[in-house]
Structures are given as C-alpha cells and as structure tokens.
C-alpha cells in the first residue's frame, strides 16, 4: 500500500502538472529531495486533491501550492479584509525574493512561481539556475526517479546560458548515459565551470560508442572555455578529447578526476599536466602514472599540487606493474610539500612486488583486498608521510610487529581502519599508546582483536580509551 502511494500516483501527478502549464509548474523528480520535503510534497498533493473535489478552481496556482501561498492569494483578491494585510507579498523586491528562493528547493520554488507574475519572473532569475544536477535513471534499472524530461527541455531552452555547475547522475543503463550525452551536446551556449559525470551504479558511459560520448563531451570543452573542475571517472574519454580540453581550458582547469578511463594513455595525461599549470587535484589510475607526469606536475610553472589520487587496480591476476622512481616522488614533495597522495590498492597479494620498495610520499593508503603481512611491514618502512591507513583484509597471521613499526615510523598517522585482520590485544594497546591522542579515527572490527594473557576483550576498550583520551569501542556487526 505504501508503494502505490510513493510511486505511480505522484508520478502521474507531476506529469499532469507538466502538461497543464509547462512553463510555470515545473515537474521535478521528488526522489532526490530530503525526506521531510517529500512529506511536505505529499501533504501538498493531498490538500490539492481536496480542493479539486470541493470544486474549487485550481487554474491559478498549480496543484499542491503551499497553504501559505493560497492564503496570500486569497488575501490579495479580497484585499483589505485581513487584519494585517498591509504587507503585499507580491511586491517583494526582487533581491529579497531571490534570497528567499535560494533557500527553497526547486519544487517549492516551482509552487511559489505559480502565485503571481512577479514570483514567476523570480523563478527564472539566472542566479537560481547556476547549479543543476541532472538525474538520469530508467525505471528498469533504478529505484530512483529521473529529472523530468520537460524540465530538462525547459532548462536547455531558457537556462542553459545560466548553468555553471552541472552534474549528471546516471544509473547503470545505457539509455541514461545516452540521455546525458544528448543534454551535453545541447549545452552549446553555456560556459560551465564544473562538470561531473557520475555513475551511481554500474558505470554506463563505458557502454556508449566512444565517438558518441567524445563528441558530446567536447561540445562542453569547446564552448565552456573556463572549466575549472571536471569529473569523468569511468568514461571512455580519450587522448584527443583531452587535447581539446587543454586547448580550451588550460588556464582555468584546477581539478580533474578521471579514475578508470581506459582510453587515456600516459601521454594523454602528460599533455594535460604539461599545459594546465593551475591543476591542483588529479585522480587517475596507476597505469597513467609515470615519472614524466610527476616531473611535469612539479615543474616551476606549475602551482602546488594539493591532491593526487591513484587507484591501483588489477585487471587480471598476476598483472605486472611498473615502478616509479624515488627521485620523481622526491621532486613532487619538493615542489608541493603539503600535497596529499591517496592510493587505493585493489590487487592480489602477489602483485605487490614493485610497491613500497622505496620511500613513497603517500598520505592516505587504502588496501581494498587482501594484503600480505610482508607488504604491510614494508609500508612501515617506506611511508613516512602516512596519515591514514585502511586495511580491509590480510592473511591469518597477526599484524603485531607491522602495526608497531607503523606507529614508530609514521609520525603523522592519525586514522586507521582494520577489517578482516588479526592483531593481538597487547600489540594493539601498544600501538595506540605510541600514537596516543593523535589517532582521531580508530575503526577496528571487534573480531580483529585477539585476546591474549594481558588483555581480554572487555578490558581493551578501556585500555585504549585511556591512551586515546576519549571513549573508544571496537566496531561491531550484529551477531544475530
């Protein structure tokens, strides 16, 4: 019964709105709205139903206009009848209206826009359309609703030149990825600062014909000229399209996230680093990382890098990985002493050969699969800048010495997370004692801690809390 309430009727309702007054009443997806807002919406609709049943006219304000608006409208028409009717809400200065509208979610703005001409004009003020998130979902592949096609049309028609910060959230279907490309290729007269293509489930951009995707993306590159942030993880972007990006946006580009873009080569990303001197954040896969890239990023003309994220992913077991020279990392650290190096490892145990042989300036280290005791031992020796360490799993041998070494050598370490690992309680207490209060995040699954003759599981939380200077408990999963 709840499903029907949530699903079809409200969908039908929004479509209805769109059909009745496409310009004013803007159908939008209710799915992305916070729960409280959705409730308000529902209430609004119910109220409206009552009005229709009672034969009241709804031609002016659209369905579901907030009660307040109705009351105001009544006050308007019945003029002086209300006691404190001196305030004419319809005559609010535009600036104030803008302020108010900024705090309203789109749906409420749409309702408000049906109150009077002035509010309707305010609804279309460019300031309110700088930022937009297109949600593209298909009923067959997602539980979420999509941005209504009429709204998309309206934005392209009336507001595309206002758009500056745009993101696309796309589900796992190819249709949705295609729809995103369709919109992109129509954004010819806008100057975007930010563009994000975000796959919310299985990455679907990869399933598009490459040429189709590239031509849509380059429309934005060519027209925008002042892109500052670009997030295109898991897409078929390629070297030539990056060249177009660089040719048009090299002065403004600050952030580029392109993890898992298999069609880009090390040369392609090098071209970006060579020419976009303002680049401060970069995310890519390890196969694109090269000594040349690091040297380019540490050239004199280049601003300090703030964040570099590297995903090290194994495509098939036993894959060979190249290594990066210590001198290149050193150059990076000299150029940007404060930069964060975030590394995510998704490797089989036997693929770690080239890693952690020399010092590496990694700050955030995430081992997403099993990692051997030996490699963790090397981490303690080679990662002096380490701030955060997450180990999802390691073998069956306890990590006692490794952790203690990390506590000893990694003086910046302030966050650690352990999943399927084992550490003896004594070693863990020792580790915490050595790190002390600088451990601001300590996320340890309860099963990780192996009781020994010194500490049992009931003592350890107290012992650790004592050394941390705050109350601490291991993480627990339900034992039901």
């Amino acid at each position: 019964m709840c499903e029907s309430e949530e699903g079809a009727p409200s969908g039908g309702r929004t479509r209805n709105i769109g059909a009745r007054a496409p310009a004013e009443a803007t159908p939008i997806n209710s799915e992305s709205t916070p729960a409280s807002l959705r409730h308000r919406m529902k209430r609004g609709q119910k109220r409206d139903d009552k009005v229709e049943e009672g034969g009241g006219s709804v031609s002016g304000p659209g369905p579901g206009a907030p009660e307040v608006c109705k009351r105001l409208r009544r006050a308007d028409s019945e003029e002086q009848q209300q006691e404190d009717g001196e305030v004419d809400w319809g005559q609010l200065p535009e600036e104030i209206l803008l302020q108010i509208f900024q705090y309203l979610p789109l749906l409420d703005r749409a309702f408000a826009s049906q109150v009077c001409r002035g509010w309707n004009q305010a609804f279309h003020m460019p300031e309110l359309w700088r930022c937009f998130e297109f949600e593209l979902n298909q009923p067959a592949s997602s539980y979420l609703k999509a941005t209504h096609p009429d709204l998309i049309k309206q934005i392209i028609k009336r507001h595309s030149n206002h758009l500056q910060y745009v993101s696309f959230k796309v589900d796992s279907s190819t249709e949705s990825a295609e729809a995103a490309c369709d919109i992109l290729s129509q954004l010819v007269n806008c100057s975007l600062k930010t563009l994000g293509l975000i796959s919310t489930a299985r990455p679907s951009f990869m399933e598009l014909p490459k040429s189709h995707f590239i031509s849509a993306l380059t429309v934005v590159f060519v027209n925008s000229k002042s892109l500052s942030s670009l997030k295109i993880d898991d897409t078929p972007v390629d070297d030539p399209s990056l060249k177009v990006l660089v040719a048009n946006n090299s002065d403004t580009l600050k952030l580029l996230k392109m993890s898992s873009c298999p069609h880009v080569s090390p040369a392609g990303i090098l071209c970006v680093a060579d020419q976009c001197h303002g680049l401060r954040e970069l995310a890519l896969n390890y196969h694109l990382l090269s000594d040349d890239l690091l040297l380019a990023l540490s050239s004199e003309r280049h601003v300090h890098l703030e964040h570099l994220r590297i995903d090290v992913v194994s495509e098939n077991p036993g894959q060979q990985f190249h290594s990066i020279k210590k001198s290149s990392w050193d150059a990076m650290v000299r150029h940007s002493p404060k930069f964060n190096l975030v590394m995510y490892f998704f490797l089989y145990e036997d693929e770690f050969g080239p890693f952690f042989r020399d010092e590496v300036p990694v700050t955030h280290l995430y081992f997403g699969r099993s990692v051997s005791k030996e490699v963790l031992g090397r981490v303690g020796l080679t990662c002096p800048r380490l701030v955060e360490l997450v180990v999802c799993a390691n073998g069956l041998r306890p990590l006692d010495e490794e952790l203690i070494r990390i506590a000893e050598r990694c003086k910046q370490l302030s966050a650690i997370g352990l999943g399927e690992c084992e550490v003896s309680c004594s070693a863990f207490v020792e580790f915490v004692k050595m790190c002390g209060g600088r451990l601001s995040q300590l996320s340890i699954m309860e099963e990780v801690l192996v009781p020994d003759n010194k500490y049992g599981l009931d003592d350890i939380h107290w012992e650790v809390s004592k050394h941390l200077g705050r109350v601490w408990f291991p993480d627990m999963m339900p034992t039901w």
């Binding site: 949530e6 709205t33 729960a35 959705r38 900024q102 979610p105 789109l106 309110l128 930022c131 937009f132 998130e133 297109f134 592949s141 997602s142 539980y143 910060y165 993101s167 959230k169 930010t194 994000g196 975000i198 796959s199 919310t200 489930a201 299985r202 942030s229 898991d234 996230k257 954040e281 703030e306 495509e315 995430y366 997403g368 699969r369 099993s370 955060e388 999802c392 069956l396 650690i416 997370g417 999943g419 399927e420 002390g436 209060g437 600088r438 601001s440 995040q441 996320s443 699954m445 309860e446 009931d458 809390s465 004592k466 200077g469 109350v471 601490w472 993480d475 627990m476 999963m477 039901w480």
Partner: protein, 620 residues
Amino acid sequence: MPVNSIHWFRKGLRLHDNPALLEAIKGSDTLRCVYFLDPWFAGASNRGVNRWRFLLQCLEDLDSSLRKLNSRLFVIRGQPANIFPRLFKEWKVSRLTFECDSEPFGKERDAAIKKLASEAGVEVIGKISHTLYDLDRIVEQNGGQPPLTYKRFQTLVSGMEPPEPPLEPLTRELMGNCVTPVSENHREKYGVPLLDELGFDTETLPPTVWPGGESEALMRLERHLGPESSTAWQENFERPKMNSSPLLASPLGLSPYLRFGCLSCRLFYYKLTELYKKVKKNGSPSISLYDKLLWREFFYTAASNNPRFDRMEGNPICIRIPWDRNPEALAKWAEAKTGFPWIDAIMTQLRQEGWIHHLARHAVACFLTRGDLWISWEEGMKVFEELLLDADWSVNAGSWLCHSCSSFFQQFFHCYCPVGFGRRIDPNGDFIRRYLPVLQDFPAKFIYDPWNAPDDVQRAAKCVIGVDYPKPMVNHAEASRLNIERMRQIYQQLSRYRGLSLLATVPSNHMEVVGVNETQGAAAPPTRRRTRSGTSSHRVRREHPGSNGAKHHSARHRHTLSHRTSPYTTQSDLSDHAHEFAVPQQPGRLIWPVGGGTGKREREAEHNGCHGDDGPSSSS
C-alpha cells in the same frame, strides 16, 4: 457470571514464561488458546516451506502440551479482525489476552482488535514477553528516539533494571478449575493443518534440521547447562573468531526458537547467567555477554515506532543509496548461481536448512549490496524473510540495514571478499563441498576461486567452470573499487565532510556514548545532542588519568572540530578540506536525518568560490 478467556497466540508459542497466558486463567472458568493462520500475516510475508514447517511443528507441540493440561489449541483459519467478533459471541468471551507485539504493524493490528473487543465488552490484557525489556522505556530513556547505535543501546540498557525473571510454566495446578471446552470435531474444525494441506509439496522436502516447538527449544536450552556446556560457552560468550566459526547448524542453536517465541528470551537470559556462573565460579557477567540477545533487542527497539523500517524510501534512519535494479543478478544470488562457491554454498544452506551462521550472513549480504552487486538490501531482506527461520521483521530489516551500511553507522570501508573471507574461516573448503557437491573434487587451493584453476585441474575435478558450475558473475576487485567509491561519495554528502578520508566520513560509535566527557571533567563537544542522562556505561570507567588530562583534552577538541560527522551536527568547518569537486552547495539544504543546515555558511562556501563536494544539487 462465568469468566471465559481467550489467549491469542501469535509469537510466544510456548507455555513457559508466558505472562499473558497466566493472566488468561486467573479466576477464569474457561480458557481457549487460539492461533490464527492468518492470510494477512502469512500471505504478506510469503514464507518458504521451511518456515511453514517450523511453524506447524510449533503449533503441534503447543497442542500436545495443552492436551497434557486437558486443553487444546484452536487453530483458526482466517483473519482475526473478521473472526474475533463471532468467537466473542459464540464462546461468551469476557477476557482476551496476548503477548504484546512491539512491531508497528502488530501494534496496529492489536489496536484494531482491542477496539473490537471493547465494543464486545471483552477485557483485553497484553503482556510484554517477546523482548527482555519494555522497549518504550528504552526509547523514553533515550529522549523519545530509539538509539541509533548498538553501543548507545548497550549503555542505556546497562543503566536499567535487569530483565524480569521468567515466570513458571502453565501447569494443571495453575489451571485449577479452569477448563477448555473441546468439541467432538475439534480436529476438523480447529486442528493443526499438515504442510500438504496448505498446498506445499512435501515430496521434495529436505530433512528437518531445525525441528520447531517449545519442547525442542527447552531440550536445546538444557543442553547448554549439561555436558555440552563448554560448547555452549564458546557459542554464547566467545566472540566469533574469523577462522574457526561453526558454519553448520548447531544442536545448541536457539535463534529460530526465540523468533517464534518457543523459547522465552528471559529464560535464555537467566540460563546464560547461570552458565556464566557455573563456568566462571565467581563474578557476574557484564552486559556484553548478552550480545546476541541484545542485538535482537536493539533492532526491535529501533523498529518499534518506524513502520517503514524495512524500506529505504521514507525511512528516516536509512541512508538513500542509488542501488541498481537488476532482477537477473538478484536471482543468481538468491538461487546460489553467483559463481562464487563461498556465496553459493551459503545460499544453498540457507535454502535447504533455513539457517546460516551470522558471519555467513555478513558475507552474502555484503556481496549482494555494497560489496559486489550493488543491489538494494530490501531485495535481500525479502529473500531472507522467505528462507530464514529466525528472520523476524525488525531483526531481519535491521540486520540488512547494518550489512548494507544503510544505517546504524557501520564502517563501509571493509567489504568481505567472496573468496578470501570464506577461505579464512574454512581453509579446506569442507563447507563448500557439503553444499555444492559439484565442486567436491576441487583441490582446496582452488575451491574458493575455481575459475582460476587450470583446465587440467578442472577436468580432473570433473567440473568445468562455465559448463558444470557458473563463472563468477562479477569481477570482485573492480566491483568493490567502484562500490567503495560510491559509498564514500554518499557518506561525504551526508556528513558534508570533504576530506579524503574513508574513515572520517562515518560517524563513529563513540559520538553517541553518553556523559563520558562530562564525567571526566573535560569539555563536552559543543554540538552534541542528547548528552543527558546520568547513566554511564558500566564499561566506561569514570576516573581519568589526571596527568594526561590536558593533552587529551586538546586532542579531543581537535577531534570534534575536524571530524564532526555525527548526523546530529552540521558540518561547517570546511577550511581544512575544502577541495573536492567544485559545485556550490545549495543553500538551506537539509542534512540527514535532522535538519539544521546553516544556509548562511553554505552560501559563504559558494561565494568564496570553488571547491564543494561531488553531489549537491539544485533539483533536490
């Protein structure tokens, strides 16, 4: 005026520790115990054959125990709301008793029946005995909201009186002059039906691993204190070990019996205390020893006032995650065809026997949701509801909320590996061989990832992957990489934390622990809500090493500033980490789950230019 009572069995299918049942016989002339085979209940929950078999066995057992008291069980086909008025008249009923149901739909149903009863002049008595505690009191103690973390729950509970001791079972003596009028055609009219009478195919039914019923439950409980007490000790008090957990059904297992109420949780609670004292001789057990029972209690509490506890949409404690809709992949998981032997063996055990170990639950739940398939936990919950004997509505939904990191602030960085996790628990793969005979002849080296076995090994094992057993349906490395990243983005949006960290984005457990900083004399984090109540966890000692006080104070202070990620606070301190993806925040957007977004601050973030987070939106 004679007093005629009906005791209405729903859960609580037992004669021991049944306070409502004892109320029914108090000064009463007749007692009739009824159970409704309720199409509303049964149809909606779509339980599988194992659960039906278990239920019918419970009812059989109940009937035979009642016979010993010269009474009978009346199994009534139909819906209580339709049938009660007729029964009230026919049996001249003056009193109706039942065990209180804490779950929202149960409460709704009971309220309706109460109304019917009062219209018919029938007195209604409900008693709490499915849970250890009065859940409303826990909620009340927590300021009107159910606690959102287990630790918080533990703290609350440890400050309360211990659960009431179990009551004596119903006996002939207690019955006294109270009788049950039984007609000639009782079997026909009110007998416990057989499985095949309900239309189940009993030919292909696997043998019973978990026989239902109060007698069985009590026998199992006795074993805990008998010769098997050392195993019982291990199973109840020792934390699950990763590498030696019993994956097979244990003859000591009790969870299905607790779910149907064949066993009173209070009786179990006190037997555990007894067991502890027997083994440990001195000392009384700390509250954590009752973890298993308390997790159950925790979920009942969390669900008690939330009718949408089992949904993502409209559920105020559930994070909205854009799960994939993928019926084919879901079916592969449910039907044990994922191509990951560890996952498939567990799902086979579940389907055949109706129970799996809790580590196995973690494994398959993680695989379906945030680990590999990115499918909604609601779908998994429905499958468990059908197959799992102990899947009570609250407990089942609550566990899935946990496993999928949709609520209760679980760490999301850690995905159970569908290969490595099982290998650690059972390196030899005996569990897999038992449930997936097709892989029987694979060497232990490849039994968790048979697709990596060379062709000759596959041929020698008489099982070619892709022909005799499916290839793995996902690339775990790739899937978990994507999923971790998505979870990170979702949690970052929630907490408005823009850092790099995977850890800091999850509100950590201790944020909810009450009163600790105050009792230690340090400044409490300023934005904490609900820091009242003098109850401090008994696991938290109050004294604090004085010499380090100052240092720790500053550390704590920094902590609360840079990682204020509790959903009860707004993340406003962005200076350190304002870097991620540049989209200005929309002003006035609400933060989950309660509002308090400081629009002004957010607008400032927009004005000073660039770097916001991945996913604010104007359409939301």
